[in-house]
């Protein structure tokens, strides 16, 4: 069967090029998380007013106007700070997950052919009640 002829080629690829591809895609995903959550920009502008909604201070000495502007601008900075903090936390969390998932996926990838085989045999066993596994464990 030509399909069986393919197996050695596939096996070679799975444990060589396949790993390289996996590593490249993992790297892409990390960059994507950094890009999607704009972490660099958000860190740089963490304390900037939200949407530049700040007022300009009027010229001359007018304490009331000065404090009005100061309060409004501080409020906008606080809003901006909280929104950015929220996104930064979510972004960092997802980045952490992606980074951590990397090694796990590598292990999973290594085992995939065996897992696949196991699932298939187990499925057949379950469906046709061969009870291979029950017998194996002497149950």
């Amino acid at each position: 069967m030509p399909f069986l002829y393919l197996i050695p080629f596939y096996a070679k690829w799975h444990y060589t090029e396949g790993f390289k591809d996996l590593f490249r895609n993992w790297k892409n995903l990390i960059f994507f998380v950094l890009h999607f959550f704009s972490l660099g920009i958000l860190f740089r502008t963490w304390f900037a007013p939200f949407g530049r909604l700040n007022e300009e201070y009027r010229k001359g000495l007018d304490p009331e106007a000065f404090f009005e502007t100061l309060v409004a601008n501080t409020l906008m900075r606080i809003v901006g700070f909280f929104l950015r903090t929220f996104v930064i936390i979510i972004g960092l969390l997802i980045l952490f997950i992606v980074v951590m998932l990397g090694p796990a996926v590598f292990i999973l990838w290594t085992l995939t052919p065996f897992i696949l085989l196991f699932l298939f045999i187990f499925g057949v066993d379950q469906t046709f009640a061969f009870n291979i596994f029950l017998n194996f464990y002497g149950l």
């Binding site: 399909f3 393919l6 900037a48 699932l119």
Partner: protein
Amino acid sequence: MDYKKLKDTLISWRPVYILESVLPHRLRDITKKITFLSFILFSLLSIARISFLGLALIFFSLWLVFFLLDCFYYSYYFKHSKEAGRFAFELALVVLGSPDDDIIYGFMFSNLGKKILWRCGIDRESQRDFLSNRKFRLSGDKFKLPEGRSTFRAYLEGLIASDVEFKNFILAHHVMEEEFLGAATWTVSVMLDVSKSKRWWGSDNLLRINPIGRNWSYGRSYSLMKYARPLLVSDSIIDEGYHVEEAKLLEIVLSRTREANALLVGDDGVGKMEVLEELHKLMGKDEVPLILRGKQIWVFEISVLSAAVGNAQIFERELIKVLKESERAGNIIFVIPNMSAFLEAGNIYGVSVLAMLSPFFSSSRMQIVGISSTEEYQRLLEPLGDIKQHFEKVTVEPAGEDMLVKILESEVIHLENQIGITISYPAISEAIASSKKYFVDRPLADVATDLLIESATKASKDGKFIVDKEDVLFVIKSKTGIPTGFVKEVEKDKLLNLETLLKARIVGQDDAVKVVSDAIRRARSGIGNPLRPAGSFLFLGPTGVGKTETAKALGEVFFGETSKMIRLDMSEYNAPDSLNRLIGSFESNTPGTLVTLLREHPYGVLLLDEFEKTDSKVLDLFMQIIDEGIFSDMRGKKVSARNVIIVATSNAAGDIIFEYVRTGKDLSATRETIINEIIAKGIFRPELLNRFDGIVLFHPLNEDSLREVSKRLLDHLVQRLKSKGITLKISDSLVSFLTKKGMDPKFGARPLNRAIQETVEQIIAKKMISGEISSGSEIELTENDLG
């Protein structure tokens, strides 16, 4: 490189070739979907009944197999190989699947080969016919690949070079070698791009997703949103860089910390907006300096603002509001699509837009990009110090032909999706070639796209599945009247017997008939120089010998019966201001006669009567037109005369010719002497005469010729009378009488017309009014009647 080496280069794709042979991609795709759906179904059923869990696991493991095979497939698909090139995967499928003793069969039978030939406009039936009827089989040892090219191109060039039968098959379908190669590269590029667009996990696709939070550090300009639109980038699946150089220059200018303003200057249709689109693409991929990241390009429409406001105050207030808000937002690249119109918009309110705009020139928070045509830049913007000082000019050059092909390829993909018809590659190349040839004044890309759209509509109406060259040529013919396309049987007969056809109209001028016939055949075959007029002739001879009639016949035969003849009496252009009257005057802002006529009728015959009587400057202008087929009007805009046949007539040599003929000399033998006499008399300069495709000497008409003309003029009268129900019988005596009466060697056939009017027409008119003849009558005039 030989075939064996090519195979060795591609051998590393063998695993995926086997996969494709056993389980083609499409079949895998369908099976993967089915197994996944089955897995979901049985997983849900297993909640109710645990025995379904086994089936769910079987389908899951099967789905996993197909998933892993997909990973395997794409890994090979996008595998980089310097030696095998970009299209190694597709090429490997063809080469590894070809039998060594019949490479052409392997190519034509492959998925890619079928697609390429279809793109060339060669239908499946013809492909099958060729495969079953060919005599030669190209084997691996006879297959030679040229060196120094990409492997994919070398393979295709090798196919054509090694198998003459295959080459002739391609050529027989009016597909040139370059078109075949172009179609192949395009086909495989589209396949690659489609696969790339499906690869969502690739960095290109991932980084295209809009990020969140990036705009939070910037403000919003609500006024700008009222009067401007964000720059829209056409969603092209082929990501070819267009105007990359200009976009990089623009990027440098806009990255400055101060006075980051640019002015994009170029002729209409060169793609100034596309420079911004290219920059937008670079910004989308974050391939720009930090200062430009997160910026938005907004195109401001002054006409929308002008329409929305009623008076100077509101205009001024709104414009300043827009500019201030844009600056405050901090992430706006403010684009003014028509800079001169923008600056002039305030004139009706007595407001200086430039004065309002200038405070923002030095802003570090906003970049301004103005767009202008070259002509308006030179006329209106360059003299303005503020603009010159604060804007960096970026000149936009027209796209080269290669890039134009890429643009059209991209457009065509969209068009095909819209109208559901394939556009062949030769149709695209014909659209570009014809646009360059027949529509000189308009932007090339626009014209070529319009031609393809119209051709596709025509082909669709005809029930065709593919647009080919012939469809494009048909559209050109219907738009211009110029006969294009392949010469078919009827037209072939007509072209080969042109002399006979023309002699039926032109009497006694065999030399002229031959020259004109040759010119028509040259123009029709398309071998003439495309950078000159379709033809240019100087007709020399006495008056009334058929010079104008020949020009008319020439136009009708070449451009069709309804063709328009542009006629200029050059004796009216003999004053010093004649040149201005022809090409227009910048001072008085009046367009020129010649410019207007050529723009309105760019296809036909341009007849320049009494050419010798015009001013010397005008002669110089025509020297340029005849030489290059193009000239500039008063505003410096190009005017094309490349699709007209120029016929200049002159009586200047009439006396000389008449004298030579009177003394019994043969005109063709004394031709050189006559032309030398013309030059010696200072009528025309030799450099002007040398530029004409042909100088034709018209003979004075002898008695036989005049007799023939008399007959033809009487025939016309017979036709006119027939429409009134009266039959006029023409006798030999009547013809002889008229020939005698109208014979004047100095004026040729012209007095004959007058003779017919004064005698025959006069008598018949009297008889009609007196009631002697009426509808249904038959009349024959004798010499007695004619007095």
